[in-house]
Symmetry: C2
Subunit: 156 residues, 2 copies
């Protein structure tokens, strides 16, 4: 069961993913910016994740590696534009296999009644680049990440 919602409109260049977590904003912000916790929730269920680099500050770089059951690696990374705790961060990202398809991700956290709405928007260079991510099952990876993050938050 997932309560993750997506907005993926035809002809637009972005994907918006929204999830409400039953935890205060400070707790959610810490969880999503803590390199130690990333392997516990980032990525789809069937892959493991290694954090090679995660400098959570303007100009900081990040690099996560997804590893499949055969040991093949798929690396993603970019740089942080802005980090405004506990409200939002903005970073670039690209799959290293498609280094020219850079996207801009903005994660915004809004608190209401002790719950936190997590909104991740990814803006792509073209509709085609965005649609390629959709075809590559990006939203499924996002949905599973959100489910895993909910479990991490519940265990704290």
């Amino acid at each position: 069961m997932s309560d993750t919602e997506f907005v993926i409109e035809p002809g637009r260049q972005d994907i918006i993913m929204t999830r409400v977590f039953g935890a205060p904003r400070e707790v959610v912000f810490r969880a999503v910016t803590d390199p130690e916790l990333i392997p516990r929730w980032w990525g789809p269920h069937f892959l493991t994740t290694r954090v090679d680099l995660m400098e959570v500050r303007p100009g900081g770089r990040w690099r996560y590696v997804n590893i499949d059951a055969r040991g093949r690696e798929y690396a993603f990374g970019g740089v942080y534009h802005d980090v405004v705790a506990p409200e939002r961060f903005v970073r670039t990202w690209a799959f290293e296999g498609w280094p020219e398809d850079v996207a801009l991700e903005t994660v915004t956290l809004v608190e209401a009644d002790g719950r936190t709405k997590y909104v991740a928007q990814s803006v792509h260079r073209s509709v085609e680049a965005r649609d390629a991510i959709v075809r590559a099952d990006g939203p499924r990876g996002g949905r599973e990440s959100m489910d895993r993050l909910a479990e991490v938050l519940a265990s704290h």
Copy 2:
């Protein structure tokens, strides 16, 4: 007279600006990544430009300040995602007055017959944010920058 072309389609989130310069790609790339030269071409004719920061490498930050005749300052900045000399660079940018409207700029240089096609694409978080830049005369600033850059290149 300007040979700068724009693609600004309704409902899309990006602005694409194209200009052909009569100089080799290496020369154009050096000019657009040299902090000393930025004040000579970046921005509209009626403003002066100061470079506070320009670290041309992945994770490097940049900050340019436009100054009007009354001394008022308008600052822009962000971080470099990627720098692939002499082909392209990718960086984030925001006007400091609207810090949440972060955009992703990709500058690509393509050489043909000793001339260089400069393509700058700016992808915005929303159609509305892109349209606000258009209403704020962003394309005019871009066009004037390109004219000024052509003069800088011609003087070298």
